[in-house]
Amino acid sequence: MPVLEAFRLALLTIRAQKLKSGFSLIGVFIGVASLIGAWSIVNGVNRYMTVKFAQTLYGVNTFQLRRRPMFAANVPDSVWRAWRRRPRIKFGDAEAVTAAISGPVVTAWASDENVSVFYGNKEARDIQLTAASERYFDIKNLRIAAGRAFTAQENRSGVPVAVLGEAVAKRLFSDRNPLNHSVRIGGIGYRVIGVVEHQGSLLDFPLDRFVVVPAQSPAQSLVNPPGVLDALLVKAPSEEAMRDAIQEAEGVMRGRRHLRPTQDNNFVLETSEGVQRFWAGINRILMVVLPGVVIVSLVIGGVVIMNIMLMSVTERTREIGLRKSLGARRRDVLRQFLAESAAIASVGAGFGILAGVGLTVLINAVSPLPAKLSPASVVLGVLMGTGVGVVAGVYPASRAARLDPIAALRQE
């Protein structure tokens, strides 16, 4: 009997015994659904953390030279106080580090302050003002939606121009074109030359409430004392290049700060790793728990299928005897029952995939967790589901195949 014929027969049998087949595929169904659902969450959060979180706040292969870490949890007061006593990063530091890095990197200055931005009698409060150099947009991956970013020339000469975040442009200009209008920050007018593309939000934190102005524009006096910046951003073409650049930067900074070998750095070279390391920890736990849950439900699914198939073989002893008397070889009977258990499991896996996809959509809709369907989990779900069916079917099917036709036919 050809394989296709065996599967057709198997589906017929399953259709004829809906309830029994329904019970037998529940285990595989739950296994595959939970596999896909859980995987979607991990995958979604993973993407969120690496792509959005790390890249938005840091940029890929980017590090920042700062006085103290930007992200730090559970810091004792004493450490915090020590950080506050550290010297600030000076223009001279940033220039020296930039000059010392041998690899092809992109650098930008950045200093932040919360300000209000005015246009006419309209005010946008609680806006993040960033005094930055021109490559800031590249490093932060901020694309200009309208107008342009400022140039190196404009940055150096401190021209009062501004690039607005989308939310700021909306707030101050509603639907009008903000380009070439003048907004006031700290009492000084800045000509709007560009608006940045919509950035969305990170968890619940809006990413469009900002204004970027040249680092050496008058805004410098709002964000920092003269000659001081918050961070030097350095973006390298690869992770390895980034590591090299960090080493070089560290050497230069230690030299400039006259640190002896026994002294710790009084500055940080921070990467997005810290954030990612935190996530990787959670991920590791999930990656241990998740396969456990899936394996348990698949094993249960397999045992259920094996049981039902054994029952089925006993119930259909006469049918097997008949089929053998009509010319079915052992392998025909074996194939029939294997196909049946594989088909049951595949149908279960199929429903499990639907449920898993549904679960993913549901999680996205009703919970703050970002879930993203992983094609690999679907493929794995099908393979594991069907595999369980075949494995669980081997023993019952071989029992069926070995039945003696005479005894089987005699059975009432």
């Binding site: 009997m1 050809p2 014929e5 017929l12 049998t13 004829a16 006469r318 049918e319 005897g321 008949l322 089929r323 053998k324 008397s325 009509l326 010319g327 079915a328 070889r329 052992r330 392998r331 025909d332 036709p405 005479i406 036919l409």
Partner: protein
């Protein structure tokens, strides 16, 4: 009337082509928990093409055992069995399955139809194992059903058919692969006398069309339909009688 003396057969000879079934000193022993039961003790039998033979005997006479051996469901302990010029007594499992599929059409007392399948699908079963394509299967199964007068019942399931109709589906299934022999085991055992007569009518027609039929029965009036009656007793042939046509 007794038969003319059977052709002498020596071990190792091949039978003449017109001999469909030839058994030579066929024995079958069962080991029943240390005790050896000798169900057949040397049965030598020759059945020619287009013979209609009834095998009779009391229970325990070995007629079921002989039936299983002839039907290639079982293999003999010793002796030879030639079916259609092929020695089948030493074939392996798969080869026997093939012989059952091609050479033998079984008709059982309890019909043994698949309850959930239609008449047509039931008749198609042997053709599935013969490896035929779906279209040819359907055509040949339909032909076989028409041959037994059930052309209008193809889509019916067994529980929608009468006992006689079920047995006719089973006969169609037995014939669908054009077997060398039709092997019927108490074919009327579960039928009333009217329906039994109907089935015997079908057998008579098939015999008239050239079909070789071997039928096991314990009813004399059923055996009377056959042209030759072989009686077994205690694992050997007691009588072998041919009726004048």
């Amino acid at each position: 009337m007794t038969l003319p003396a059977p052709q002498p057969f020596r071990t190792g000879d091949a039978p003449l082509p017109e001999i469909i079934i030839l058994t030579h000193k066929l024995t079958r022993e069962y080991d029943m928990g240390g005790e050896v039961v000798r169900a057949l003790q040397g049965v030598s039998l020759q059945i020619k093409h287009n013979e209609y033979v009834a095998v009779m005997g009391p229970s325990g006479s070995g007629k079921s055992t002989l039936m299983n051996l002839i039907g290639c469901l079982d293999t003999p302990t010793s002796g030879e069995y030639w079916l259609n010029s092929q020695q089948v007594s030493e074939l392996d499992d798969d080869a026997l399955a093939r012989i059952r599929n091609k050479e033998i059409g079984f008709v059982f007392q309890t019909f043994n139809l698949l309850p959930r399948a239609t008449a047509l699908h039931n008749v198609e079963l042997p053709l599935i194992y013969a490896g035929l394509g779906a279209r040819e299967r359907r055509d040949r199964a339909a032909q076989a059903l028409e041959r037994v007068g059930l052309g209008d019942r193809m889509a019916h399931r067994p529980n929608e058919l009468s006992g006689g109709q079920r047995q006719r589906v089973a006969i169609a299934r037995a014939l669908v692969n054009r077997p060398s022999i039709l092997l019927a085991d108490e074919p009327t055992g579960n039928l009333d006398s009217t329906t039994s007569g109907e089935i015997m009518g079908v057998f008579r027609t098939l015999h008239g069309e050239g079909q070789t039929i071997v039928m096991v029965t314990h009813e004399h009036d059923i055996a009377a339909h056959a042209a030759r009656v072989v009686t077994l007793r205690d694992g050997v042939i007691a009588t072998d009688q041919r009726r004048a046509a």
